[in-house]
Amino acid sequence: MLARAASSRSRLAGPRAAIALACTVALSAACATLDGTSNDGVNLPSAGDGPFRPLVGAELAVGAVPPYVFGVQAQAYEQPSAVGVNDDPSSAEVWMYCVAHPKGGAVIVRTHALDGRSFYGDATDNEDTSHPAHAAPTVLSADQAWEGGTVTAPSALRANGQVWLYYAGAGGIGVAQSSDGLSFTKVPQPVLTPDATATWETSTPGAPSVAVFPDGTWHMLYAAGGAIGEATSPDGLTWTRADGNPILAPSPTVDPSTLGPGETPPFDEGSVDDPVLAPQTTFDGRFQVRVLYTGYLEAPGGTAVRDSAIGVAGRFGTSGPLTRQAAPTYTAKLHERAAAFFEYAGGSLLYVGEDDTSLSSTSPFPGIAGAYAPATETLPPPSAFADSP
C-alpha cells in the first residue's frame, strides 16, 4: 500500500511540476520585458587622427569658452606644438609650445596642462585671483642673424633624453635643445636652408615637424612653396632632402563648372602647409606615417585671409608620397591653421590655431582651440589648472 501510494505520488509529481514550471516560464517571460540601453559609438577602432570634434563646455574648466584651451588676447597665441611630459602612455599631461606675439613680436612660449586641456596661463586660469597671475614663459626668441628677428612654428619632441625644439626663422629651420624643456640652447646655424636645386621650393622652408622612426632615422616634414617636403637625418642635426619631394602637393584644382549641387572644391586645392608628423606602428605591425596639415582653398599670395581646414594624409612605410583624405579631419570655418597633435591612451587631442571669438564675434584674435577624437566619445571632467608652466 505504501509502495503504491509512493508510486502514485511519483506519477503525479512529474505533471504537476511541469505545469508549475510552465506557469513559471510564462510569468518570467512576462516580467522580462525590461528597459534596455544602447551603447553606441564607443570603443570603435580609429587610426587616431580624427575626425576631430571641438571640445565642449563640460570638458573645459569652469568659465572657459569652448573650444578654446589657450587664449590671451594680448599674446595672440598660435602655432602650437605638443609633447608629453612623461613616457606614461595613459597620461594626458602635456607641454605645449606655441608662438606668442607680445607687442607685435614673435617668440616661442611654453605652457603646461595636467589633463591636456587646462593650460597654465590661459585667460580662464587667471580669472582665479587666489594665485599670482600666471604667464607662459618665453623659451625661445630671435637672437641669430639668420632668424631675421622672428622665431615661429615650433615643433617639439623628446629624443636622447632631451627636448628638441625645431623652429622656423627667416632663413630656414633651426633647432634648440633643452634638458628641462624650458632653458634651450640653440644650434647657431639653421639645419635646413633653401636649396636652389629644389625647384618646387619657391619659398624658404618652414613649419618643421620632426619624429624619430623605429629604425633610428630622424624624419622632418617641412612646408615650402605651398607644398610639403621631407628630409632625413641620422642625428637630428644634419639633414638631407628626401627623393621624390614634395611628398604632398595641393589637390588638383577642380573646375567649378563641373561641381554638382552642394559639392565644393577640394579644401586644399590652394596650398598645403604646417605638417604635423605622427608616425605609429599599427597593432598588426605595419609602420604608418600619419600627417596632419593645413589645407588652404586659395593659393598663397593674396591679401585676403584664406579659407582653410585641417586635413590628414598618410603612407605605409618610411618613404614615399602621402595619400590624403578628401574631407578635412577638423574644420570650424574660423581660419584654422597650424595644428598640434597629442595622442595618449585615452584618445587624441588636436590643438588648432584659429580665430578666437570668445570676446568678440566680429573682432576675433588668434587663439588655440581644442578638439578631440574619437568624436563619438566624451572626455572626463577637466582637472585643475597646472600651477607651473
Partner: protein
C-alpha cells in the same frame, strides 16, 4: 471534383502568401525561433509542427494534432569586439511564442498558426550611421525588432503539406517642422518651436513552404522567404528668423530636408531541408539556406536639401559665413555576395516512460560572412560564424484531465563564435585604420507548450 477541391485548398496558403508585397527580416534568422529549432541548429524545415513552423516552414503546421499554445523567453548576449574592445552590441532578448489551431476544411487537415517575437527593449529600431563608422552590420540594430507572423497550412494529400503566410513589420515616416528665431552667437537666446508628425505603417511580407513525406521515415521541405526592407523617411522643414543677439532678425532661413534610409534589409531566402529517422527515437535533419545577400541595400541615409537664406540688407556681418547646402550623399558599394548556410540537427528521444519522455538535441550551423573584407572607406564589420547548440526537452502526454494534450518544456543553449580576423586598410590615411574583429554570442532560452 474532389481533386480540384484539394488543389484549390492547396493554393489557399500560397495565395495568402502572395497577397503580401515583400518578405521577412528578423532576429530569428540569427538566433532561431523557439528552443527546439534553435537547439537543432535551425535544421527543422522538414521536421517542425509547432508554432515555430510559422518561421521555419509554414507547411509543418498542417501536421499539428491539436490546439497548442507556446510561450517562452530567450536572451542572446553578444560579446563582439574590435581591437580587443567590446563594441557594446546590445543583447537581443524577448518573449517568443505562438499558437497552432488545427482543424479541417472539407475533409482536409488544415491549421492556422501565429508566432511572435516581442523584444524587451525596442519594438523596432532604425538607425542610420555614416558609411565609414565601424559597426557590426548583421548583429547590431537590425535584430532589434518585433516579429509577428500569421500562417495557414493544409495537407491536400497525406504525403504533402503546403503552407504560407504573412509577417508584419512597421515602417516609419515622419515630418518635423521647426520655426522660430536663431541667434547666431547665442544659442541660449534662440527660441524654436517644433512639431512632429510621425506614422508607423505596417508592412506585410510573405513566406511559403512545402513538405513532402517520401516515406514514413524520410521527409523533404522547400521554403521560400521573400525580401524585406524597412524605410525610414524623415522630412524636416525649418523656417526661422536669423539674427545676432537682440538686434532682431537679419533674414529668414528656409530649409527643407528630406532623408531616405533603407534599414533592416533582409534578402530573399530559399531553404531546402531533409529529415530522416533512422530509428523511431532519432531524428536527423539537414537544411541548406540560400540567402540572396547580393541584393543588400546599405543602410545609408540619402539626404536631399533645399536651403534658402537670402543675405540681409547690407550683406552679411564681418566674420559671418552663410550656411551652404551639403552635397547629396554618395553611397559607396558594400560588396556583399550570396551565401549558402548549412544547418545540421539531431533529436534523440532518450527516455520513454509511460508518463513522460525526455529528449536530447544538438545542432550546428555555419554562416560564412557575406560581406567582403572592408579594406576601403566603408566599415560594415562582419565575420564568419560557427554556432553549436544543444537542448533538452520534456514531454508529458495528457498530464491532467484539464489538459488532454501534451505539456512540453524545452530549453536551449547556443554558442556562436566569430573567429577574430584582421581587416587591413589600403589607404594609409584611412581614419579608421587596420583593426581586428571577432567575438562570441551566448543564446539561452526556454519554452513551455501546452496542448489541448
Amino acid at each position: 471534383m474532389r481533386a480540384a477541391g484539394r488543389l484549390l485548398a492547396a493554393l489557399l496558403p500560397v495565395a495568402a502568401a502572395c497577397w503580401a508585397a515583400d518578405a521577412r527580416a528578423n532576429p530569428l534568422d540569427v538566433f532561431g525561433f523557439g528552443s527546439r529549432g534553435t537547439a537543432m541548429g535551425g535544421a527543422v524545415s522538414a521536421d517542425v509542427t509547432d508554432f515555430s513552423a510559422c518561421y521555419y516552414n509554414p507547411a509543418g503546421l498542417a501536421l499539428a494534432h491539436g490546439l497548442e499554445i507556446s510561450v517562452g523567453y530567450f536572451r542572446a548576449d553578444q560579446s563582439l569586439y574590435m581591437n580587443g574592445k567590446n563594441s557594446g552590441v546590445d543583447p537581443v532578448k524577448g518573449v517568443v511564442g505562438g499558437a497552432v489551431v488545427p482543424g479541417k476544411v472539407f475533409t482536409l487537415p488544415f491549421a492556422f498558426g501565429v508566432g511572435f517575437h516581442i523584444p524587451d527593449d525596442w519594438l523596432t529600431r532604425v538607425r542610420a550611421l555614416p558609411q565609414d563608422q565601424p559597426r557590426w552590420e548583421l548583429y547590431d540594430n537590425r535584430n532589434q525588432r518585433l516579429w509577428f507572423g500569421v500562417d495557414l497550412a493544409i495537407s491536400p494529400f497525406p504525403w504533402l503539406q503546403i503552407g504560407g503566410g504573412v509577417t508584419f513589420m512597421a515602417a516609419t515616416k515622419a515630418t518635423l517642422d521647426i520655426s522660430g528665431h536663431v541667434d547666431l552667437f547665442g544659442p541660449t537666446d534662440s527660441s524654436l518651436r517644433h512639431q512632429v508628425d510621425a506614422d508607423l505603417t505596417l508592412i506585410a511580407y510573405p513566406s511559403i513552404g512545402a513538405r513532402i513525406e517520401a516515406t514514413k521515415d524520410l521527409s523533404f521541405a522547400l521554403v521560400y522567404r521573400g525580401q524585406f526592407s524597412m524605410d525610414l523617411n524623415v522630412d524636416a522643414n525649418v523656417q526661422a528668423g536669423v539674427g545676432l543677439g537682440r538686434a532682431g532678425d537679419l533674414t529668414t532661413l528656409l530649409l527643407a530636408l528630406q532623408t531616405d534610409t533603407v534599414d533592416a534589409f533582409l534578402p530573399q531566402q530559399v531553404v531546402g531541408g531533409i529529415s530522416y529517422k533512422p530509428t523511431e527515437t532519432l531524428h536527423t535533419n539537414f537544411d541548406l539556406t540560400w540567402v540572396n545577400w547580393s541584393a543588400y541595400q546599405p543602410p545609408v541615409t540619402r539626404i536631399m536639401t533645399q536651403l534658402n537664406v537670402p543675405p540681409p540688407a547690407g550683406g552679411w556681418p564681418a566674420g559671418i559665413q552663410p550656411p551652404t547646402v551639403p552635397a547629396p550623399t554618395v553611397v559607396l558599394p558594400i560588396q556583399i555576395h550570396d551565401i549558402v548556410i548549412p544547418h545540421l540537427g539531431v533529436e534523440w528521444r532518450a527516455i520513454t516512460q509511460r508518463t513522460w519522455e525526455g529528449f536530447l538535441r544538438a545542432g550546428y550551423e555555419f554562416q560564412k560572412s557575406p560581406i567582403a573584407a572592408q579594406t576601403g572607406p566603408t566599415n560594415y564589420v562582419d565575420r564568419d560564424r560557427h554556432s553549436v547548440s544543444a537542448g533538452l526537452g520534456l514531454r508529458l502526454p495528457a498530464p491532467a484531465t484539464l489538459l488532454p494534450g501534451d505539456v512540453r518544456l524545452d530549453a536551449h543553449v547556443q554558442y556562436s563564435v566569430l573567429p577574430t580576423e584582421t581587416t587591413t586598410k589600403v589607404d594609409a590615411s584611412d581614419p579608421v585604420g587596420d583593426y581586428t574583429a571577432g567575438g562570441h554570442i551566448w543564446n539561452v532560452g526556454m519554452m513551455a507548450t501546452v496542448g489541448f
